[in-house]
Amino acid sequence: MIDTQLAALLSSGSFIIIGLYAAIFIDNIIKKIIGLSFIEEGANMFLITLAYRPDGIVPIFLPGMTPEWFASKSAYPLPHALVLTSIVIGASTLAIMLAIAMVLYNKHGSLSASVILGDKK
């Protein structure tokens, strides 16, 4: 059995690869956007996995813990703080992309990226 950290790293990698595949090869613009949200989630999961510590505890300092024990056990809380921001940014970018996609659908009557974005000039 592989350990949890490695498995989580692998799955975050597969989220990124699935997302990249969708963003590059799938024609439908909504699915492209879904793929981009997977890339975002994979990157977030990668950061969280970095902070993980096997047999660790949640980084919340509770009464009754000594600082030495807490420092030797707790997960690294800095990436958690970073990811919180990054999740919100990802959601807002997604909302803007969907809004533009809706405008483009009204203009071209299609969700296909090759039709919507095809004309270069």
């Binding site: 800095l78 940014i89 970018t93």
Partner: protein, 497 residues
Amino acid sequence: MNDLIPLMVIVPIIVAILLNLFSKQNTTVKILSFLVAIVLPIIPILSNYGLHYFGGHAPLIDNGNLLNSLPSYISDGALSTFHIGITYSFESLQRILLFFLFVVGFLCILTTLGERKRIPGSYMFLMFMGLAAVTAMLLSDDIFHMYIFFEIAIVAQVGIVLASTDDLKYEVAMKYLLLGSVGGPILLIGIGFLLGLVGSVNITDIVYAVKNGLINTSSPVFLFSFGLIFFGWLYSVGLPPFHTIKSSIYSKAVPSGSALLQALSVVIFISLGITIFRIYSSLPLLEVFLIFFSLSGMILSLTMAIMENDFKRMIGFLAVGELGYIGLGFGIGTKLSLTAALFQGLNEIIITAILFIGFGVILYLTKISDITKLGGLIENNPKIAIIVLLGGFAMAGVPPLNGFQSKLMLIQSALNDNLPELAIIMILISIITFMTFMKAFHSIYLKPKPKNLIVEDVRVPRSSIFAMAVLIVICIVLGIMPTLVTNGFSGFVGGLI
């Protein structure tokens, strides 16, 4: 007065939110945005050099009482010098660049106020938000903080493009945003690798760890993080393979918006570029990568610019091509070349603003951007023609304008570093840039007027002329007295190498 440092970011953000609230009241929007835009350039001048620790979280070594109470493996090791909170550092580079960025921002906002009867508050919101975002990127000493404001800057740029009246703005904005949502997470993963190696996202700490051998700089993880962050940087600044999308972004926005977009891009270029240079300067790959991508960016954009008949797109390509000079300066990597690169970046902000606003006047008068259908406009407004010509001279590097000084410094640094071929390529590219610009200038202003060309009988807004005049005065002053800014830049670079 170190307390003023965070205000440079906070004031534009607060004003942006207020403007969005008062979006319906036209007069309020106008007065508020004008007043704040005029106040902004004063803040960097009044503020003192120094560091600002958010939340008062200074490094442990500055806090004697706390340090003594900690176990010795923290107080004696490198950990005690690490920065705990987000840190803003304000030095000579930041002061000069931010002052000119805010001046250009003010002039862009002024031009917008002059050209439009009704100003939507949301458009002003985006302009101030973009300014705040790049200011935070330039000030920040924290690479993740940079990433957040990088994403905000992308969204603000997309918004500025969407505010124009061009037919294809949605398509271009969508493409830019799609690429941005790939580039952003890739930058984030690169930051994640650095975080995994060092355990901190503060750039000074990372540089400390690299310099003192705390991490293995030949490990694949370090190289991989370099690749990912470099990719994110390429996207954000529009070097190949992203030069086409960047130039179409410029060509789709309102001209005064494009001037601001270029200023934002240059500041992102410089702030992320300095970060990359500081962290990865030990890698021999860095120099090769920077020179290769900058050169190919210059050459590809110029070849596209020569073929172009639409002057908006042409200026867009020229603007992207000029960015390559900054990259070359970073790539050569000596003290002189870095100073020259920073000076060139500053000049670029000013010169492209002149060109965008100047050609924007043509668009305002004729609604045509195809140079084959234009001609003889020098009769209508000779003043603007002369200013635009001077701007083109400055871009091409004709003495005594500022472009000449920075390009001369770049060429000298290339020669000093035994890279004469780079110097020759820079001179050639400068000549081709000038030729392309003169082609556009000739067919817009000097060629006989086509019969079916209708010039609308409206007065050119006085704010546009004022903005261009101020910018050209800055060009001439910097051209005659370059030491005004280069002293500050070389002082900053001296602390860097």
